[in-house]
């Protein structure tokens, strides 16, 4: 498994453990899955996921990255974009 896959899997596992509802444990989540449309997550839950990832990855600023997005970008935000940011920022 390469580093990209590892980050994506960590993001997906963090989403599952943070939301911690029955359906999400077996819901098919991949890089294209969108937080608003596909997962029905509200912003308060999204922030919790971001905070958990920030704790996991330490130096990487996820909350700051999010606040630089505009509303259209936030609406369409996908799991893959979040993983991509972690990979890019971690280099």
């Amino acid at each position: 498994m390469n580093a990209q896959h590892e980050v994506l899997n960590t993001v997906i596992a963090t989403i599952r453990s943070t939301i911690n509802e029955d359906w999400i444990q077996h819901f098919d989540i991949d890089a294209d899955t969108r937080f608003n449309d596909d997962l029905e997550l509200e912003s308060i839950e999204f922030v919790k996921i971001a905070e958990a990832l920030q704790r996991h990855y330490g130096e990487i600023d996820i909350i700051g990255w999010l606040s630089g997005k505009d509303i259209h970008e936030l609406i369409g935000l996908s799991v893959g974009q979040l993983a991509e940011h972690i990979i890019t920022a971690g280099r």
């Binding site: 509802e21 608003n36 449309d37 029905e40 509200e42 912003s43 308060i44 997005k69 505009d70 509303i71």
Partner: protein
Amino acid sequence: MARVLITVPPLTGHLNPALALARQLAAEGHELAWAVHAQRIGDKLPAGARVYALDDEIQSEDLGSASPKVRGIESVRVFFEDYTMPMARQVLAPLEAAARDFAPDVMLVDHQMPAGALVARKLDLPWATQVTTSASILKMSPVLDAWVAEQYRSLQQDYLPAEKRVERPDFSPQCVIVWSIEALLGNAHARVPAPYLFVGPPQTQNRRGIEFPWSWLDASRRCLLVSLGTVSRDRDTRFFEVMLQALAQLPQLQAVMVAPASLAAQAPDNVLVRDYVPQVELLSRVSGVICHAGHNTVCEALSQNLPLIVAPIRDDQPVIARQVIDAGAALFMRHGKVTPETALKTIQTLLDSPQLAERAGALGAQLRQAPGEAGAAAALLALACAETEQLPC
């Protein structure tokens, strides 16, 4: 007597509180006029109402229709960018003409009718904003706030002189009437700074009589009302099907479900599916409510001390859901994802948690004490009096 010009968008949730306020003002003898989309809502106005039509030259399809399928924050973006703002641009001119012609002592402007706010500001008329729910006066996040400010900046640019432009023109600097109670707001978010007056929901509503088989209700069993409101009722049937599966395992309960009649065939014996219900009367007979966190339904349930399960879908529902959960009177269900197992557990928790009903009762007491349209009318008239120094207003 005061002359009052009312402007609201052609949406039931915004028209209804204005109608309650108008009945109050008319009963006190004041002179009213409406600047509204008459082709759409003219038939809902009081008989003989003085109307300035804003849609004489506008095709109905010019107004973006509310997309039924979008959810969450995307529905907020669509409503604002594709509905409220284009409509504001369309009606600025006819609305200004109406205000000049009627020469009101005071204007009542719905929060989703920003053209009215700009006209009042341009003509230096006294005006109050009406806000119909407990959600839209909050600053939700810097990203959202910046987006909203940008929308208003561009709307004001071509219409108001530079010295009259402000970051949030939609909030009157004189009075913002909120048809909700402060206790629902919580402290999770700051408010847009404005002179708020919380009047609670309207206390009188025009209701058409809706038939209901009252004898179906079994006094020996507790009953729940399940409703997603009129806008989302026909969205899809998944949520209702999940509720039916959960309720089938709770024969000691009854439930009335406001849903398409086609679902009746799948309903277990203890669930009655109805297209429409007399909601307020029915609420006096149930022990709890499962709903979409629409502000009306939430307030009507709390007013009767009922705890809720909230499954928000769109618009301001996620915010209202969070408010009533944080106030301790509701539990959460994820509308499009909830499983029968989780629904069953959540319903059991709702019925086994007296503290939820206690918190609902505390909010209910405040809702019942709120002044409603009488308080709103007094505030509006105070603005008119301050301007004209006439007595008695």
